[in-house]
Symmetry: C2
Subunit: 234 residues, 2 copies
């Protein structure tokens, strides 16, 4: 009884497979706690519907022509209506999962999952949580760790990181170079003469086997010199 008075969550479905779309709508309508405010077979139409009906959550298919699905996440986020996106996909492509989550999807579910689990996922997301089924989060983490592993392997693969040969002072100089500071600036900041800076810089070039500051900076960035930052394929 009381449930009748509780405001239903508004949900919108986007999937290029019309039959599937209708199927899910029926399922959710049967469930009764959701209000399916619209369905769309492509992102463009979906975006317009979102603007009009301002759903709480969008069930967005990832396996659509081009990369409409991923782009859809971004575009829905751009609307800045706080719409939550639950990604939906036919298979557990780790790369797709990773990208979807990176772009801000609040969850990712498979079409093959039991309807009860789908409904549970929707509820969790509406309640502000992030929902990734165990199987998918495993895929995600494998992919996640893999990309970092490759990255760190790449860094040390050239025998040793040449950066390790730099002396402390040389590192200080290089750090300033990576901030775009000029020689004169470095001299000022380190309270040494410009000549000294040049000497250090020359030694840095020798050790990093480069011929100019730009290459040195690039080497530093690409080899984890700014240890706080790590790059990651997207």
């Amino acid at each position: 009884m009381r449930r009748e008075f509780k405001k239903k969550s508004k949900i919108l479905l986007i999937d290029d497979n019309y039959e599937h779309l209708v199927g899910i709508r029926e399922l959710l309508n049967l469930e009764g706690t959701f209000d399916v405010v619209g369905i769309a077979t492509n992102v463009t139409v979906g975006l317009n519907l979102i603007k009009k009906s301002q759903p709480d959550i969008v069930l967005l298919d990832m396996n659509m022509p081009d990369r409409d699905g991923l782009q859809g996440i971004t575009e829905i986020a751009k609307l800045d209506l706080g719409t939550k996106v639950l990604a939906l996909s036919g298979y557990d492509d780790a790369d797709l999962i990773f990208r979807a989550m990176k772009l801000g999807a609040k969850g990712y579910v498979l079409k093959t999952m039991a309807s009860a689990q789908l409904i549970y996922a929707i509820e969790e997301v509406i309640n502000g949580k992030i929902y990734l089924p165990l199987a998918l989060s495993s895929r995600f983490f494998e992919y996640f760790q893999q990309s970092f592993r490759e990255e760190s392997e790449k860094q040390t693969s050239d025998e040793e990181n040449l950066l390790s040969y730099l002396t402390q002072r040389e590192e200080e100089v290089l750090e300033l170079l990576t901030q775009g500071v000029t020689y004169k600036g470095v001299a000022g900041k380190l309270f040494i003469s410009e000549t000294t800076v040049k000497t250090h810089v020359n030694n840095i070039f020798q050790k990093l086997q480069v011929n100019d500051r730009t290459q040195a900076v690039l080497y530093a960035i690409n080899n984890g010199f700014l240890s706080k930052k790590v790059k990651m394929g997207v």
Copy 2:
């Protein structure tokens, strides 16, 4: 009976809290499917024990002096014995969880969790899976998405990405600059005179509001010029 013959998984515990260490050992011994081959109250000792006893899995406390826990993950990985690490922590610090997983931990559990869940986690990890309790994976994903959100906001926060004002030709020149190519080199590669390169470069500086090539390159890298790469706080 047959279980007696099944090879038990070797497990090693590292935690600076000795009582906790002993407690877990007792728990695992009671369980019977594990063989606790060693305990250590610091990483250094732990590493030596790992080398000797080659455990399948290490339960590694994250809340140790300095950042011993995180470093421990890296150092265990460096041993290259295929040792799996299950991180253990007193509280659900999102940053810690994120870093631990990034460094290759196969899972993360809280000391407050029911012992049954701990045992389940250990078994999952031993079986090659990644185990993150729902609550922690939520923390993880919030943190994960947050860092990407901040990154993309940072990129477009200055109204618009200044890179978008560059003409096609200017982009080509800038791209070569980001590869450490000299003016002469650019001229050669684009079949134009060095003077023309300089003109383009000057225009680039104007548009990006910088004064030298290093700054231009840094701007390009930090603002998604190499759109395939994204940086991420670690």
